[in-house]
Amino acid sequence: MTLLFQLAMYLYLTATAVYVFHFLSQQKQVRAVARAILFTGGILHTVYFVVRYLAAGHTPITSNHEAVSFFAWAMTWAFLSFWWRYRVKNFGVFVTPLISLLMLIAAFSSQEMAPLPPALRSNWLPVHASIAIMANGFLALAFCGGVMYLLQEREIKKKKFGIFYSRLPSLEALDNLNQHCLALGFLLLTLGIITGSVWAKQAWGTYWQWDPKETWSLITWLIYAAILHQRLTVGWRRRRAAIMAIAGFAAVLFTLWGVTYLLGGVHSYVG
């Protein structure tokens, strides 16, 4: 089982290296190789979850290792499914390092399988947790898009064309990417919060109890709601949208880790 995880991780790391090589050399065949490696990694990662699910007897999404690894998995498949529909030049070289980083964090956290506390034993667990983390996957893609936008915009604005100008897609394409990822991520985030509160009602008898994780999820949700609202009304798009996508993702990360390690609460992982 650990072997499966490690294999997936090494494949992700290799895919990252190949994407970087492709970014520098711009050879088409290299990109196909990188994508194939990433795809294989994604498949093995999926198998890993199935195996772990069978071994644990519950959805493996309750420890830090599991949650972060699931996050990486969600990003991988969000990226691969995204690639299917929109072609964004050299997106992979920005996404795969983040996936690899998440996998490394997961690798260094405890991989022990702890028994599930009674409060978490519910069918809502897989629904709520996986939707919430899938949301993170798309918001992470929006973050990568935001970074790409700022890099490309900087070169156009400063009129100094470095390595990014020719390799990154047009500002318009990056802005669209941002918009799509944000919209999808926001939708999932909303669903995650709703399912969570329904589950809370069942488990604890109240929809909302201002647990730190809940509070921070709400803050994150408000940030993204603001981005989308401003975009539609006064036209916060392009540069400002890119910056906000990056800021929003910082809130996502804080909700994921900051809350657990700094603030505690019912969402703190079992492990």
């Binding site: 500002l171 669209n176 798009r237």
Partner: protein
């Protein structure tokens, strides 16, 4: 076939000033020049290329030195220059150098703007006309076909045609980096300079949605607008239009700024921050340089665009070096083929190919018949040998038999093709 029989004589932008080139220019179709050239004694094949930057004759002659003088005097017939001067303005490449030169021309390495794509089309057209007049034969057919594939290879394997090297095209490329597709975008032309028209033309070709022309004199605006299927407005409407359009190209003769930062700033809110690409190709400048500080506004003046072009040109020079390597490899390959276009090497090649097949097949058969005695094995080998020799006998006789009516090169080319001797692995 001797490589030295292939010759290229010509003038281009490097060897002759335009004053000389224009006297050499041939207009209309190449039928006349081609037929004149074929009448030169010893000229077996020829192709004639005439563009605004070069006039070249590519020919194969049995006595190149004599033919060269005749070709040169034909080229410079209308120039009034003596052969001595003509030699100074023209170049003569022979053998391997001629092949290299042709490949360089086809791959646009010898062009005034390195990497510009038109030359390949012009060369193809020249070849088509030569074929129609039946002035090319085995050698030039292969040489020109190879030059086309070398050009294609250079284009796909290097980035030689990659980035814009003209100001108007650089502007279009930038627009695409900002807006992606230009289909639903619009451009406002302010003033009607030549470069602005050129840029607008490029934008239209890239499929820009709408063209609006604003000019001091409305008639001129209307005329230009008609050309691009657009609308004409007065200069007073500049700011109203600016709330709508995506690209502005300014090239008025105004001595002062026609658009300042403070005028555009409120517009951006009205535009819901849709990006605005401002191109200022007027000297003195029309647009306030500080406009570039506004969010989602990108201002490029003529010097900025020139810088872009210079950087791109330097990139192309670098790519050209890589292209030269490709050319060198292909020239060597052509040399090999040419060396094979003789009786003796062709016979050797056929023998070698047949022997290789025989050996491989015999080994395969004997490998699966392990029970054979030494004698029986020997018989199988003899059988194979006999079949090969008998089959090759008639082709060899046909090859060696020199009928005076035959074209020996055609015959060689035919046999080589029949036996697949020049197939590239």
């Amino acid at each position: 076939m001797l490589a030295e029989n292939i010759v290229i004589i010509g003038v281009n932008h490097k060897t002759a000033p335009v004053a000389v080139r224009e006297k050499l220019a041939f207009s209309g179709d190449c039928a006349g020049p081609l037929l004149t050239l074929m009448n030169i004694e010893g000229c077996r094949e020829c192709c004639f290329l005439s563009t605004c930057n070069r006039v070249e004759v590519i020919f194969v002659a049995s006595n190149p030195a004599i033919a060269a003088v005749a070709v040169r005097s034909f080229l410079f017939a209308n120039s009034g220059l003596a052969d001595g001067e003509a030699q100074q303005y023209s170049y003569l490449h022979q053998g391997q150098d001629a092949v290299t030169h042709l490949y360089q021309v086809a791959a646009s390495l010898d062009s005034m703007v390195v990497g510009e794509p038109q030359i390949l089309g012009q060369l193809k057209q020249a070849y088509r006309e030569a074929m129609e007049q039946k002035t090319t034969g085995v050698i030039l057919n292969r040489l020109l076909h190879k030059s086309f594939s070398v050009a294609k290879k250079v284009r796909t394997e290097t980035n030689i045609g990659g980035s814009a090297v003209s100001i108007s095209y650089a502007a279009v490329e930038l627009a695409k980096k900002i807006f992606g597709s230009l289909r639903d975008k619009s451009v406002l032309l302010v003033g009607a300079g030549e470069m602005a028209e050129l840029a607008a033309e490029h934008l239209v070709r890239q499929g820009i949605g709408r063209v609006i022309v604003a000019n001091r004199t409305v008639e001129r605006a209307a005329k230009l607008a008609r050309r691009f299927n657009g609308t004409a407005v007065g200069l007073a409407e500049l700011t109203t239009q600016l709330a709508e359009v995506d690209i502005l190209i300014s090239s008025t003769g105004a001595t002062d700024l026609i658009l300042t930062k403070d005028e555009v700033k409120p517009l951006m809110r009205q535009r819901k921050n849709r990006p605005l690409f401002l191109i200022d190709i007027a000297v003195p400048r029309d647009l306030d340089p500080e406009l570039n500080d506004l969010e989602n506004v990108y201002l490029y003046d003529i010097d900025d665009l020139k810088n872009v072009v210079d950087v791109n040109k330097a990139d192309r020079e670098k790519e050209a070096l890589r292209a030269e390597d490709i050319v060198a490899v292909e020239v060597a390959k052509f040399g090999q083929w040419l060396a094979g276009m003789e009786l003796a090497p062709t016979i050797t090649d056929i023998r070698q190919k047949a022997n290789a097949i025989r050996e491989a097949e015999v080994a395969k058969t004997l490998g699966s018949l392990k029970s054979l005695s030494e004698n029986e094995r020997r018989s199988v080998e003899l059988l194979a040998n006999a079949i090969v020799n008998k089959l090759l006998h008639e082709p060899m006789v046909f090859l060696k038999n020199s009928d005076p009516h035959d074209n020996p090169q055609l015959k060689l080319a035919f046999v080589r093709q029949l036996f697949g001797l020049d197939r590239e692995s």
